[in-house]
């Protein structure tokens, strides 16, 4: 494709603006059409991405390499699924969003994710701290709005405030960290930083490490790594469910691409790079423990997924900590691809079920196996994959993570991984248990599913198995094995 890559983001941006404009002219029309427009537009973008190859971008702060394309795809795909979910969730949104017409505000709810998607796509390509910072903030600020979107819903607002304050705090640290990195290296561009790092004098290395660690803190916040994860359960629970899905997949994914790029460029100065790796190891350990252990007693499915999101960040961090291994980048990528599928699938079904049964506790899934076997099956597949049962995508991710960890001799993390996988089986199967073991509450009916969601669900189920059974799909994601 000869189209300048940067145009893709602009296209997405235009798409979002078009949706906004349409919103303002649509008086009584069904706003769900906007979401369909967004989905179609993003699907086009996805197809473009599918056929575009990496190449020079002609810009210093923006690259178009394989990871960039991959993470752009992740962003687009996530947004598509989020939009599909949003359609199902629209009724809940409008309930908490009074306006002139019954659907007022929905257009923004569909358009903002598209704009956020543009931010994520920029972030996937960013190799300059300035661009990283602004696109990160674009994503963050959209999320402020989206999380607090249901402004009649106290929980949504509370989540919004918590996210706002903590995210701004982490931004403060990130900025301070970037400042120090810039101060020591005199550069904001990662490629140039990588080049000048070996010549950083010994006295400046602590400052460099200080900056890098603070950046790590900020990114750790985005990817929900302990001990910077405290916002996650509360915000996930309070936010509108599609946005929770968006947060847990999109925000995390772009956090990881930036983290990978940063960590990788710091490898050129082992004194700092290795310390950064040990910091990540520490984060990985704490994250694994916290995410998986604290999930054990959960009874709310959304919070459970929040803790699970933290737990998976732990596994991903293992892969990042094993950056020295050949397939480390691949491990992150594959794990994220798997994580995307299984988490979005879980959220999709959560949206459908919770819309129907007015609640998102695990008990609301009781007897789902009997009430709606296909939904239950979809969720079963998602849970299996999250727990890491072989022949699903989640297993492939865990497999690669353990592989790279073994290659770099991260035995402590492996031991923790073993323990936490066991915990994971427990809390994921709790949902399975509710669906299949428990009797359904009396006088419930089968849950209606929109055709779009059904298609999306089956596509993801098939993809989960496809990725698990044919790993070449996954390895094909990233031909050059490291970003």
């Amino acid at each position: 494709m000869t189209m300048p890559p940067v145009l893709l983001e602009l296209f997405v941006l235009a798409l979002g603006i078009v949706m906004l404009v349409l919103e303002s002219f649509a008086e009584t029309r069904d706003r769900k059409v906007f979401a369909i427009i967004g989905i179609v537009g993003l699907a086009l973008v996805f197809l473009f991405l599918q056929v575009s190859a990496p190449g020079p971008s002609g810009m210093v702060s923006y690259v178009m390499d394989w990871p960039a394309i991959f993470f752009k795809k992740v962003s687009v795909l996530t947004t598509i699924v989020v939009l599909i979910m949003s359609i199902d969730y629209a009724d809940t949104i409008t309930r908490f969003l009074p306006g002139r017409s019954p659907q007022s505000g929905l257009g923004e709810f569909f358009a903002l994710p598209v704009l956020t998607c543009a931010g994520m796509m920029w972030m996937s390509s960013a190799i300059d701290f300035i661009l990283i910072f602004v696109s990160l903030e674009l994503v963050t600020i959209s999320f402020y709005v989206l999380v607090a979107f249901m402004r009649r819903n106290a929980a949504s607002l509370e989540a919004g405030v918590k996210y706002l304050i903590l995210s701004a705090l982490s931004t403060g640290f990130t900025v301070y960290g970037i400042t120090w990195i810039y101060g020591v290296t005199q550069q904001t561009n990662l490629t140039q930083i990588q080049q000048v790092l070996p010549s950083v004098p010994l006295d400046n290395q602590p400052g460099l490490l200080f900056g890098a660690l603070l950046v790590l803190v900020g990114l750790g916040f985005k990817i929900a790594a302990a001990p910077f994860q405290f916002w996650v359960p509360d915000v996930y629970q309070g936010a509108p469910t599609p946005i929770t899905a968006f947060l847990s997949v999109g925000s995390k994914a772009v956090g990881f691409i930036v983290l990978l790029r940063v960590v990788l460029s710091f490898q050129s100065l082992p004194a700092v790079g290795d310390r950064l790796i040990s910091a990540i190891t520490f984060l990985a350990a704490v994250t694994l423990i916290y995410g998986n252990l604290a999930a054990l007693p959960q009874t709310n499915f959304k919070r459970l997924l929040a803790y699970s999101s933290v737990g998976h960040a732990g596994y991903l961090l293992i892969a990042v900590a094993a950056i020295g291994a050949r397939d480390s980048g691949l491990a992150v990528v594959v794990y994220l691809a798997a994580y995307l599928l299984m988490t979005l699938l879980s959220f999709l079904i959560l949206v459908i079920v919770s819309t129907h049964s007015q609640g998102d506790d695990i008990v609301h899934f009781n007897g789902l196996g009997k009430r709606s076997p296909f939904l239950a099956f979809g969720l079963l597949v998602a849970m299996m994959s999250l727990a890491g049962v072989p022949l699903t995508a989640g297993f492939l991710g865990k497999f690669l993570v353990f592989k790279v960890a073994f290659e770099t001799r991260q035995f402590f993390l492996i031991a923790l991984g073993i323990l936490t996988v066991g915990c994971g089986f427990y809390f994921y199967l709790k949902v399975v248990k509710a669906m299949y073991w428990q009797p359904a509450p009396p006088n419930v009916t089968a849950i209606p599913i929109s055709r779009l969601s059904l298609v999306a669900m089956w596509v993801m189920v098939v993809l989960i198995f496809a990725l698990g059974i044919f790993p070449q799909f996954a390895t094909g994601l990233l031909p050059s094995t490291s970003p």
Partner: protein, 167 residues
């Protein structure tokens, strides 16, 4: 800039920064913040960053602070009630803050050349605003677009979040 002026402005900035935290009345805090930011703008100027200094005054002291004050007035926030301080939390907070300052001091003092004075710079034909602009529109053009989007998103967000509720 002479060291004296630097220290004066630095002191103003820190003291009023502290006032933001200490004052129980939100309005006082906000006004202290304005003063602190003005001093900060002076420090920017002392670093030959005139453009940033101006922006700081325009955006922060001008726009942001007005917004803050406006909201405080709008919500009619009263002074915080004196609540019993949670002693362990306060102590913990101070320990964390202290350790953080120590960490910053350590890396700062180790910074090579940190104790040397700044190299003089030439006053070229173009002011710093020219340089900043060149970089902004050439090298970081794309970032500028992103920021544009960001502001768009922010304005949509504000609209969505505070649209009047019509019955």
């Amino acid at each position: 800039m002479s060291p004296l002026l630097f220290w004066i402005f630095a002191a103003i900035m820190l003291v009023f920064g502290g006032m933001v935290v200490i004052h129980r009345n939100p309005v006082a805090s906000a006004l202290s913040l304005v003063v602190s930011f003005l001093a900060l703008a002076a420090l920017f100027v002392s670093l030959d960053a005139y453009f940033i200094g101006v922006i700081q005054i325009l955006v922060y002291a001008g726009a942001v602070m007005v917004l803050f004050l406006f909201i405080i007035m709008l919500l009619d926030l009263k002074a915080e009630l004196r609540r019993r301080p949670n002693l362990p939390a306060v102590c913990g907070g101070f320990v964390v803050i202290f350790l953080f300052i120590v960490a910053i001091a350590e890396v700062s003092f180790r910074f090579q050349g940190g104790d040397a004075s700044f190299q003089p710079i030439a006053q070229g034909p173009q002011g710093d605003i020219w340089h900043v602009g060149m970089i902004l529109f050439q090298r970081y053009n794309i970032a500028l677009q992103v920021v544009g989007t960001l502001i768009l998103v922010a304005s949509i967000g504000v609209v969505v979040l505070s649209k009047r509720e019509l019955k």
